[in-house]
């Protein structure tokens, strides 16, 4: 079975019914693909298949034959959104972060806050409450960020 993985042609043998996440993590050693629930609910295992964000834990590997698959590793190490996730504290524990970033890849230009929320609705984060994730994504897209928090000092 052949498919494009992070820009290069990949040939894998083995059971086409195996979960894509297992093939990616165990055979291709791409452990940036995280497993949080194994049932397509948390989005930690999100990868792009032909540009669409998909939970790799509920996709049989055979289904990506001939497709273009991109994991977090495929973004390289210096994608601006990666740095923004750290700077804006969009990543706390970090386990949802690769999936979150991959889900955000689908966003078009000039997204609104509502667009960002919709794009990330299938990705759970238990640490941040999402606000910092919105800040990271909106800054990446050059959009203004609602800035309501402040620090007050009393004497």
């Amino acid at each position: 079975m052949q498919f494009t993985l992070n820009g290069t042609m990949k040939e894998i043998t083995g059971n086409p019914a195996a979960r894509l996440i297992d093939v990616l993590r165990e055979e291709c050693l791409l452990t940036g693909v995280k497993e949080g629930c194994g049932e397509g609910e948390c989005g930690a295992c999100t990868v792009l298949i032909d540009g669409e964000p998909v939970c790799s834990c509920i996709i049989p590997a055979g289904q990506v034959e001939g497709a273009d698959v991109v994991t977090i590793e495929g973004l390289g190490g210096d994608h601006p959104l990666q740095q923004l996730f750290m700077n804006e504290v969009g990543a706390q524990c970090g386990i949802c972060t690769p999936g979150m970033i991959m889900a955000a890849m689908k966003l078009g230009d000039a997204p609104t806050l509502e667009d960002v929320k919709t794009a990330l609705a299938g990705n759970l984060c238990r640490c941040t409450g999402y606000s910092a994730i919105y800040r990271a994504v909106l800054k990446w897209k050059g959009m203004s960020v609602p800035e309501s928090a402040g620090t007050l000092v009393i004497e």
Partner: protein, 701 residues
């Protein structure tokens, strides 16, 4: 520019965002086996027989006979076995362990266990096995009820289990090495694991060490249970002589591991018609589950916070944590306080209602001030900010105007005032004697503590404190990965203590090191004299007095203070609640790293919103029946409204650079704020989560 107070670059590096950071399940050792836990399928009974209904070739099988020394997870008590011997006390109790190099074969293996079933106990109110009881007494609660200017308000408030849902499920790897064993894992408290393993292994295996791998969230859920999993992996590793990995899937994690204690809190309050609290009589019951775990201390914190941030001369708080035949409940962010502060804040709203008084005014009359005395007899110092956060929350949200304008509509606004003690309770920090170490490196210094980074920013915040206290560049401070053979035991990463307590020891280590450097930079000193390390032990403030038998004294060195406001819309047809905005005004001394601190508040507020509205653990025959993320729902992007965070400062002199603890505080406020907003709509909610099903019952009542 100082590091403290600024949102400097985090010490985590970019790995979490590139996928390079290694969590337990990402690590593979040569020859590694995959472990699996076979668990009880009944809530109570005796084990009659165990049959291995599969081809056992190549399998390592462990049961209680393989326990090297003592079959007990050593925590507060030694009542919980690593593996059940003859009787089981709850669903999903570990009985047998399997390991094989082929993960699929392990998962397919069928073990048939026959039981003699016994009648289980699920109702905590019917349990007479008490793990811990507490009585806090101030004044005389019975005296005022005869006064004729006094109104008595009673109420019972209940909360359900809450599941942590760290996105990375529990997992560890045990690796035999040098006659001992190393444990790599997703853990909050590496030294707790060491303690448990020493008890399990006895003197035969002195060489154990625990190395924390990158940890995908904890929230208390990786405080005690990793000791159990580590013990399992170690037994399999010792029997096989090979590395063994145990990673829980989501359902196993949700069904078998700890959750927030369900609570029943009864209030009986005497209050004058003018709104002054005269007497508060409070009973707290926590459902501890089948083993003690941390229930005594959860109960302790819950009881101490049960009277809320209010002054009342006559207060009695009686609490008990009891046994039931359910999986043990344990640590979860807030540690008992979210339950009891929910109760008291909803109760305050009902008191105001019965007095025909504005609930803000009722809080103004009674909220604690510096110099006031708490239920345990603690005289509050200048770092008490209840009034400050209340006034700021009311002002900032235009609360009074909105409440009036939305009357009779489907929109509503409510608030909750709360506080949270930082660090271990009472004499806890004195007994704990946490240590921290600072080591010179050729280019700077290394922080060597057992405090874990679980997303909250431990590494960064500690490095900031050392940077400024030592007066060296932030970039020259590195933070060691917690490895119990290499770092100082700085105590568990719990109880909002990592900044305030461990940060303080590091500040003192820095001062001592600075003196020893004698004006040289770390690099200059190292080149000239070689290695240097400084280790210090925590000294709590000398004024702390605590009597653990009477529950009297200074319960906490300091408290964080918060006022949350919930604005929401209610759909009277579907009973759905749509939060519009949450405002979290919180005072925690001083933020060391404002962006990380804000993240703690935003994230804790989200967990609190889930606790209020969404997160319902359905128990069936003593086990979680909805142990999947499909039907145990935590807030998604579409559930979370805008969160407005206000960080106020009121420095605590005993904390590093004035900082208090922060981690748990944000968890206490959202649930009562949301429920108090629902009350404005005529919904008498006294139990959470307030799901649409529950609200339809409240509306019908």
């Amino acid at each position: 520019m100082s590091a403290v107070g600024n949102s400097v670059a985090r010490k985590d590096g970019i790995g979490k965002a590139t996928g390079a950071a290694l969590y337990a399940d990402d690590i593979v050792f040569p020859g590694m086996l995959h472990g699996r836990t076979i668990r009880s399928t009944i809530p109570r009974g005796r084990i009659k027989s165990i049959r291995y209904d599969f081809d056992t070739s190549g399998f390592i099988i462990v049961d209680y006979h393989d326990v090297p020394s003592k079959n007990a997870v050593d925590l507060m008590s030694q009542d919980q076995p690593f593996l059940a011997e003859h009787e089981v006390k709850h669903m999903a109790e570990p009985i047998v362990l399997l390991a094989h190099e082929d993960k699929e074969r392990v998962n397919a293996a069928k073990v048939v266990i026959e039981y003699e079933e016994e009648e289980p106990l699920f109702d905590p109110e019917k349990s007479d096995l008490v793990f811990k009881s507490i009585e806090i007494l101030k004044g005389d609660v019975d005296a005022p009820s005869s006064r004729d200017d006094v109104v008595i308000v009673e109420g019972t408030y209940t909360t359900g289990h809450q599941e942590h849902v760290y996105i990375e499920p529990n997992g560890v790897i045990a690796v035999p090495e040098n006659g001992g064993v190393a444990i790599y894992g997703s853990v909050q408290c590496p030294f707790y694991v060491i303690k448990a393993l020493r008890c399990l292994l006895g003197s035969a295996h002195p060489n154990v060490r625990v190395i924390q791998t990158e940890t995908g969230g904890g929230f208390g859920g990786k405080e005690e249970y990793p000791s159990m999993i580590a013990g399992h992996a170690v037994m399999l590793a010792l029997k096989s002589g090979r590395p063994v990995k145990i990673i829980y899937d989501r359902e196993e994690d949700m069904v078998a591991t700890t959750k927030r204690h369900p609570s029943i809190v009864r209030h009986r309050t005497a209050v004058t018609k003018a709104g002054k609290l005269i007497a508060m009589d409070i009973d707290v019951i926590l459902d501890g589950g089948a083993y003690v775990t941390l229930s005594p201390t959860v109960l302790s914190r819950g009881c101490i916070h049960a009277a809320g941030p209010y002054l009342c001369d006559n207060t009695r708080i009686r609490g008990k944590a009891v046994f039931t035949n359910t999986p043990p409940n344990g640590a979860f962010r807030g540690f008992g306080a979210p339950q009891t502060e929910f109760a008291v804040e909803v109760h305050m709203e009902r008191i105001a209602e019965q007095l025909g008084m504005d609930s803000i005014e009722l809080r103004r009359i009674n909220a604690l001030k510096p110099g006031d005395i708490t239920a345990t007899g603690q005289i509050l110092r200048d770092d008490c900010s209840a009034h400050m956060v209340l006034e700021e929350a009311v002002r900032r949200t235009d609360f009074v105007k909105k409440r009036a304008a939305w009357k009779g509509t489907n929109k509503s606004i409510g608030l909750a005032l709360f506080y949270h003690g930082a660090g271990f309770t009472g004499a806890g920090e004195k007994t704990l004697k946490s240590k921290a170490r600072l080591e010179l490196t050729p280019t700077g210094v290394r922080i060597a503590v057992g405090s874990t980074e679980i997303g909250q920013g431990t590494r960064t915040m500690h490095a900031q404190i050392v940077t400024d206290a030592l007066g060296i560049p932030y970039e020259s401070v590195e933070v060691a990965q917690p490895d119990t053979s290499k770092v100082a035991d700085s105590g568990p990463t719990v109880a909002s203590r990592t900044c305030m307590v461990v940060g303080k020891i590091l500040e003192e280590c820095s001062h001592e090191m600075k003196e020893k450097l004698g004006g040289l930079s770390p690099a200059e000193y190292y080149a000239k004299n070689g290695e240097l390390s400084v280790e210090r032990t925590y000294e709590p403030p000398d004024w702390i007095q605590w009597d653990d038998s009477l529950y009297r004294g200074d319960a906490y060195a300091t408290y964080g203070w918060g006022c949350d406001v919930a604005e929401l819309e209610f759909d009277a047809d579907t009973f759905e609640v749509k939060p519009i905005k949450l405002t979290a005004v919180q005072e925690f001394g001083r933020p060391i790293h404002p962006a990380l601190a804000r993240g703690q508040i935003e994230g804790g507020t989200a967990q609190g919103l889930g606790y209020a509205l969404l997160e319902r653990v359905v128990m069936r025959n003593g086990a979680m029946a909805n142990g999947q993320l499909t039907n145990y729902v935590i807030p998604t992007t579409l559930d979370m409204p805008e969160v407005d965070v206000v960080m106020m400062e009121n420095p605590y002199p005993g904390g590093p650079f004035g900082a208090k603890g922060l981690g748990e505080l944000p968890m206490d406020g959202p649930a009562p704020a949301v429920v108090n907003a629902l009350r404005q709509l005529g919904l008498d909610v006294r139990d959470i989560p307030a799901t649409p099903e529950h609200l339809s019952n409240c509306a019908a009542a």
